[in-house]
């Protein structure tokens, strides 16, 4: 493998671990995980969870440190807008009569050799 491919693989791996952490965290907080990494033509939703009749679409952002800024800072307006469109697409397909939907953001800071830190922001859109 080339060096660049190794780095990308490592990055994907970090992202996957972050999503695992986030799913675990949400499960402990009383959410039911509905779907993970749902894909359609427009993109991907990291996590879809449900609690008390609310359907929550979650963007998970993972970093191995804050040297290049907090993970939340990487969630831009454009990214949120895409997530909102994807949420609509998912509802149209699986849950046309969804009562309440919400968009959340989760930041996972996984410093090497330390337990990952999870931060959760509700209703960011």
């Amino acid at each position: 493998m080339l060096v660049a491919e190794v780095l990308v693989a490592r990055k994907d791996d970090l992202g996957r671990r972050g999503e695992d952490c986030a799913a675990e965290y949400l499960a402990r907080a009383g959410y039911t995980v509905v779907e993970r990494n749902w894909r359609c033509g427009q993109g991907e939703i990291d996590l879809i969870v449900a609690k008390d009749g609310d359907i929550v679409f979650v963007e998970v952002k993972t970093r191995s440190g804050t040297g290049y800024g907090h993970p939340f800072e990487a969630i831009t307006v454009a990214k949120l807008a895409r997530l909102r469109r994807l949420a609509g697409a998912w509802c149209a397909q699986f849950e046309p009569r969804a009562r309440h939907i919400r968009i959340d953001a989760i930041a996972v800071i996984a410093r090497p050799g330390q337990p990952p830190v999870v931060e959760h922001l509700e209703g960011v859109f």
Partner: protein
């Protein structure tokens, strides 16, 4: 989450109003939102504050910061709110005590490394803070001298955001930084211009002194090379030092136009000599967002010299009529009105015709009579009517040059003493009236029974009035100048000589 507030000052013209800066932290994605009608420079404060806070060792909270500048309907300009925004945000985050931050007015622009830059308009802003009852103001160290000129308010000069936070009680170690200073004084007042340099032109020198003594506006007409510009540039040197209120006003206007004020108030009258291509907005002040003072306001308490007056656009000259009458300029915009002081002494200089040679004697004028008449007609009657002293200046002849070498010439220092004495005499006489200078006195007061000059004294004037050579308004103006001539000569009341001189100074050009 956290909420904190502090204060800063917004300027409209010279008047400042207090702005409350509130910062709120809410549980949202990171970002800073600035509300309360900021202009473009102020809207960029978010980026400056974020970087400055990070580089000062106390990064802003990683959540949504909402900063409100209240009153929300007042438009706010410039970068002077950076410091207030930064400390409000950090106080909301609990880095510094909110109580300490709330009791201080903060003014200053942040550099990305956290240092504070000197901010234009500091002097009027601090004056406003003091007037509105605030006791402590925090300013950039580079502006601290300027802010300290305002009496009755405690000035805290800080070099960086870090120093500001430490002053408020943050647990940070002090870090020595290089203080950002305002650029050095660009044009130290030229005191080298002395009346001694003027050769011949004795009546022009007298006219300058009379103008300085009575605060009269002056019009000089003469061919090129007669020394009009040279004379006008020496008028500020004859004026007395500015009083405390006037020097505060002059320094404030200087600060507002972004020029350095230094560590002491300006005590010498300013001289503004705009080029004749100046626009009306540049003359009286204006600007679409921030309303800035023009040349006429900057010349307040000093001299506004318009060289080649007929070359100025008519609208520009006529824009001066209101300030000449009221002593102040009001600039109206849809959302605000700005007032500037404009109590300047106007000095106009003009050639008699486009080629400049008309009446010069040694060369033929090549202008057709029509062009000649049109040239001076560009200075409108109403404007000319407000000018007390109208004088013809002639070229110096070889004979005058030879004579003047021997004759004792007058130095600016001596002339200033005479002017000062004359002004004191006038102020004594005018005690109990709203006026301090002869040029401000109303006609009826001059002609009242106790001030009336005897018939033999005004005989010459009365004859001129009867013949229609002067109007009643012109009559009053000559009386005013006559009082100035008398004050200058140390005479208690104008006699026939003084009235004669005043008539000469008025009738120097045919009007």
């Amino acid at each position: 989450m956290g909420l904190a507030r502090t204060h800063s000052v917004a300027l409209i013209g010279l008047a400042g109003s207090l702005v409350e800066v509130e910062a709120d932290i809410s549980s949202q994605l990171p970002g800073m939102r600035l509300i309360g009608l900021p202009d473009a420079a102020l809207a960029e404060a978010a980026e400056r504050v974020r970087a400055a806070a990070k580089n000062s060792g106390c990064a802003l909270n990683g959540h949504r910061l909402t900063v409100n500048l209240s009153p929300a309907a007042l438009r706010k300009h410039g970068s002077g709110f950076d410091l207030a925004i930064a400390v409000a945000c950090l106080a909301a985050d609990g880095v510094v005590p909110a109580a300490s931050v709330g009791a201080v007015v903060h003014i200053g622009e942040l550099a990305l490394d956290g240092r504070l830059r000197p901010t234009p308009g500091m002097l009027p802003a601090v004056i406003a803070a003091a007037r509105l009852g605030h006791r402590t103001v925090m300013v950039p160290a580079g502006n601290a001298d300027e802010a300290a000129l305002v009496p009755g308010i405690r000035v805290v000069g800080v070099a960086s955001l870090r120093d500001a936070l430490i002053w408020h009680g943050a647990r940070l170690d002090p870090q020595e930084v290089e203080v950002l200073c305002a650029p050095a004084e660009d044009d130290p007042a030229d005191e080298s211009l002395d009346l001694l340099d003027v050769v011949g032109n004795d009546e022009a020198i007298l006219a300058l002194q009379v103008a300085a003594a009575g605060g009269h506006h002056l019009f000089m007409l003469g061919p090129p090379g007669a020394g009009k510009t040279m004379l006008a540039a020496r008028l500020p040197g004859l004026l007395p030092d500015l009083g405390p209120a006037a020097s505060l006003e002059v320094s404030s206007l200087r600060s507002l136009s972004g020029r350095p004020v230094g560590r002491s108030l300006i005590t010498r009258p300013p001289l503004e000599s705009p080029h004749h291509t100046i626009t009306a907005a540049a003359m009286v002040g204006g600007g679409s967002g921030q309303i800035r003072p023009g040349a006429a306001a900057r010349a307040s308490h000093g001299v506004l010299f318009l060289d080649e007056a007929p070359e100025f656009a008519g609208a520009v000259l006529d824009a001066l009529r209101q300030p000449l009458e009221s002593g102040r300029i009001s600039i109206h915009r849809a959302n605000a009105i700005a007032h500037f002081p404009a109590r300047f002494q106007l000095v106009l200089a003009a050639n008699p015709c486009p080629c400049g040679q008309y009446g010069a004697g040694d060369q033929e004028c090549t202008c057709p009579p029509n062009a000649r008449r049109r040239y001076l007609a560009r200075i409108s009657g109403p404007l000319l009517d407000r000018i007390d002293i109208q004088l013809t200046v002639t070229r110096v002849t070889a004979a005058q040059l030879r004579i003047s070498a021997d004759a004792g010439r007058l130095s600016s220092a001596v002339a200033r003493h005479r002017v000062l004495a004359a002004r004191e005499t006038a102020a004594e006489r005018l005690a109990g009236t709203p006026w301090t200078l002869n040029s401000q006195v109303s006609g009826p007061w001059l002609r009242s029974t106790e001030r009336r000059l005897g018939a033999p004294v005004t005989a010459m004037l009365d004859r001129a009035l009867e013949r229609g050579g002067i109007t009643m308004r012109g009559y009053d103006r000559i009386l005013r100048v006559a009082w100035s001539v008398a004050d200058l000569a140390g005479v208690a009341r104008p006699g026939p000589d003084e009235v004669g001189q005043a008539l000469y100074l008025r009738k120097g050009m045919a009007s």
